[in-house]
Symmetry: C2
């Protein structure tokens, strides 16, 4: 059981900055995120894209912003539970218990949900029995490339994710063999990535199977992926031996498990009041893109403000008899834990 | 008459960033500030101090933050009326007219007050008839050092401002003569500034008159400063010929003229609602340190959020029939005027 002052659900930019504002009030935070690294959408969706509307940055790369935020909160030593989804929110004696899909439990008097667009769920191809092979050779996200060391891998997809992982796994000589299956002959990705993949195919380093789809999965006899059935638009089916099938068709956000946390939901977001971005459950706040209120703008800079006000109320709940005087960092500096 | 979409009163960090958010909605801004340069408190009070609580900046120098913001809004070509105080706010046919103390008029359908701590008013020494010599040889702020070219100047004060200007005016060989008058023998300033001033006094470059106060001002016969009376703690009075007397005892903030703009005032700040940070006057908003609402925190990052929401409502007033769809800079980039 991890115990802390504030459980922050979501380690995107708003969740990260919330740690900073909590730290100024001497409150400790522990963050939970279903993604394997901090940064949320910034890392998952657009790590290399520029952002122009972060105040004080005429331009900042999304990944760089996350790095800066991680550096800014370093002094407050936040804890992280990454690669796990916050599944349930229970209340026990004025405390909350948040349990992840892997059974990790977190206890704190307050919870700040900074869940962004929610949980990113993979777009799954319509293959019968696909679910049956999940974690048994079918993965929708490449969490650790080493997992595929000396394996026969079939990737499908035509975007940057499929292209980039194909390139990575080949260039780093990780896989035994790799086939890239794509429905069309053209790719939606960076031109130089497309060129690289074409070159790899021409050099025989990968098998590029276009105008095709994976339509079936066969077991190796032990319930694990053994081969996939690939259907060509005109040429019929082939069966290809494989240890792993990795469909990379992108991720779609969904509110995820917190839809069942007895929070007031509106427009697929958590309803809050603008006094302190508290939800209908006392001690539970929602900040950033996951919340809604009249006039809400889904901007990172708004989340920074919301998180800042939420920790003020969190402080009041945690230390009901302690006076909280706003101190300016310019005058007082920042002292960590 | 300057015409624009939004008159922004105050060119501190929040006023500056408001220009950016307005620009994204294709609204033009004109800023008015009583200080001679943009930056507000950041420039006036702590240009060289570090700030630690701007999201994404583990540390940023206040002056650097202003430079960044100026760069960020450059593309939207804001207008500036600097060194003038917004004096009156009138309403004419669904438009506002803001007139400065120097008579400059500005017209726009909306006004966003980002006035920070208000107008900075100089702390004035208690000298009879001091007011009579204002702009006639008595200045409380050094706006342009060249103004003192070849003049005989008496500065009084013991802080950084008095020390820094003494050093500047001597090192750049601007003044004919300079006397620095200070009540004590020790100074409240950077040690190396104090040392420099001591060295200048020892070298005869300035006259350093400690344990003394300026207690009177005499006219030169034309109503302009001609000499000052300096009272030493033990040694009695001396009369010193001078063209300028510059008391640098710091600036204190006050709500200033806008206290009379029929805005609801509470706790020496403008009351707003948190939907769009609008005041009781339709079309007039207040953002940043100048406003108040339940739970208000006087933080720059909160002002960024408030300004962002205020321009949304400003847009709705300016273009009542136009739909405003939030566009992300990461997707759409920023196109200026």
């Amino acid at each position: 059981m991890i115990e802390t002052d504030i459980i922050v659900i979501g380690a995107g930019p708003v969740g990260l900055f919330t740690v900073f504002e909590a730290g100024l009030l001497k409150l400790r935070c522990h963050l939970i995120d279903s993604l394997p690294v901090p940064g949320g959408q910034l890392i998952e969706i657009y790590p290399k894209k520029p952002i122009y509307d972060i105040p004080g940055f005429p331009i900042v790369n999304a990944g760089e912003l996350v790095d800066n935020l991680m550096k800014q909160i370093e002094v407050f030593k936040p804890g992280f539970t990454l690669g796990e989804t916050a599944l349930t929110l229970d209340e026990v004696e004025n405390h909350f218990i948040v349990t992840t899909n892997k059974g990790m439990k977190h206890k704190a008097p307050t919870v700040i949900i900074a869940g962004g667009l929610g949980v990113f769920e993979p777009r799954k191809p319509p293959i019968e029995n696909l679910d049956k092979f999940e974690d048994k050779g079918v993965e929708y996200i490449v969490r650790d490339p080493e997992f595929y060391r000396n394996k026969r891998v079939v990737i499908s997809g035509g975007g940057d994710s499929a292209l980039d992982w194909t390139i990575y796994l080949i260039e780093n000589k990780i896989v035994k063999s790799l086939a890239l299956v794509h429905r069309r002959t053209s790719f939606r990705g960076h031109l130089d990535s497309v060129q690289k993949v074409m070159d790899m195919a021409n050099a025989g380093a990968i098998e590029l199977i276009t105008e095709s789809e994976v339509v079936g999965i066969n077991s190796n006899g032990n319930g694990h992926v053994g081969s996939v059935v690939i259907k060509h638009a005109n040429l019929g089916d082939i069966v290809k031996e494989a240890d792993h099938f990795v469909p990379l068709f992108g991720l779609t956000p969904s509110l995820g498990p917190l839809a069942d946390w007895n929070l007031e939901i509106e427009k697929n977001a958590v309803k809050v009041n603008t006094l302190d971005y508290s939800t209908n459950r006392k001690g539970v706040f929602a900040v950033g893109d996951i919340n809604t209120y009249p006039g809400k703008l889904k901007l990172i800079l708004c989340g920074f403000h919301e998180g800042t006000l939420a920790v003020q109320s969190a402080f009041a709940k945690i230390h009901p008899n302690k006076k909280n005087v706003l101190k300016y960092t310019t005058v007082n500096g920042v002292s960590g834990f």
